[in-house]
Symmetry: C2
Subunit: 221 residues, 2 copies
């Protein structure tokens, strides 16, 4: 990590705004459309680098390419076509029953990556242990919110690369968990994003983006 | 909105990954550092353009520049210096007691922007009304998760512009709500982000980023 912004590598303000205006929740993907490999690898890397509270990363991003499996998930997703037709389907997962063991694992990882003795991380560890000692439903709600940071990061990253995407909350989480065998592996599905290439005839692409006036959404004090 | 990706305007995969590696949660800002106006305006526009479930936008982004007010908020934020020292402080708010009136307002806005009669949006409206008719605490939890999409978008947008930022959950929400008079205005504080210029001596900038191995975080089926 450098302390100076990699100026030559940053994006112009108008590029950011153009990308955010270009993106929309694609309802119809080109079933033959493929995301170039280097772009997809960057999107996975961006997911991995998503910020989270304490950096705890109590999440997993399940990329489903198996078409038969995706056909099984589609009925559990209100039969929405992106589930099968988009190049990629990512199911965002949150750790089930997260607790002290997850904190331990993270502290060990910090110790390993930064080459600091775990004892030096004791204060940080205690703070995190307090957070995961809240009632389980509160811990899960908190960690689930972190997953939405990763979702927001993914959608913005995709837009900037010129990759089409569609976030989806409209699916049966219990069915997804069952079909994907998630609970047994210690995970729960939270939200889905599909990514690929918009179909040229997706009528939604022509809809004007609807936002409330900026003066109502961005307040100033 | 165009149907083709603005190819000349998109970002290279390596630019995205470099920006995500460059960013970190800044703990010490340069109190004299200012975000160039065009970059800040793009960040506000990016916030406005954040995706949300149904596009409902039951949120507000409060930009606090008033230094006296920020000094009052700092003790309610574990005395963390970015609250006063970062160029910008954004408090992310969720609509309090969101319900049918918020759906009506959004449907009216769609009708206005897209010039379609509100009657044609009846099906969409009914779907949204069902979502906001869940128990109030569930509705609030759902809308709060949407706010985290905006946070993720903001952090990634900032990184790509080369703007330093720090997200913060460690603050007293009740105190923020009281100091900012949010409840009376129908809002609740959710999360905070500060943005500005990292101090050259912020020790955290030198820390290696800690992520679990990609193979453990990105699953494949």
């Amino acid at each position: 990590m450098t302390t100076e912004a990699p100026a030559a590598k940053t994006v112009l303000p108008e590029t950011l705004v153009a990308a955010m205006n270009w993106r929309y929740a694609v309802k119809k993907f080109d079933a033959a459309g493929r995301i170039p490999l280097d772009q997809w690898e960057a999107l996975e890397e961006s997911l991995l680098l998503s910020p989270s509270s304490y950096g705890l990363q109590a999440w997993k991003f399940l990329v489903i390419e198996d078409k038969a499996l995706r056909a099984k998930l589609r009925p559990a997703s209100y039969d929405q076509s992106p589930i099968t037709d988009a190049d990629k389907l990512v199911v965002f997962l949150v750790k089930k029953d997260a607790g002290p063991a997850d904190v331990e694992r993270f502290v060990d990882r910090i110790s390993e990556v930064r080459r600091v003795p775990a004892e030096m991380l004791e204060g940080y560890k205690q703070t995190m242990l307090r957070s995961v000692s809240l009632p389980p439903e509160k811990v899960e709600a908190w960690l689930t919110r972190q997953v939405y940071i990763a979702l927001g990061n993914f959608l913005t990253s995709a837009a900037l690369l010129g990759v089409d995407a569609c976030p989806m909350e409209g699916f049966d989480k219990d069915e997804y968990d069952r079909i994907l065998g998630l609970h047994e592996q210690g995970w729960k599905s939270v939200v889905v994003a599909t990514a690929g290439v918009r179909a040229p005839d997706d009528a939604y692409a022509k809809n004007k983006k609807v936002r409330f006036p900026k003066a109502e959404v961005v307040g100033r004090v």
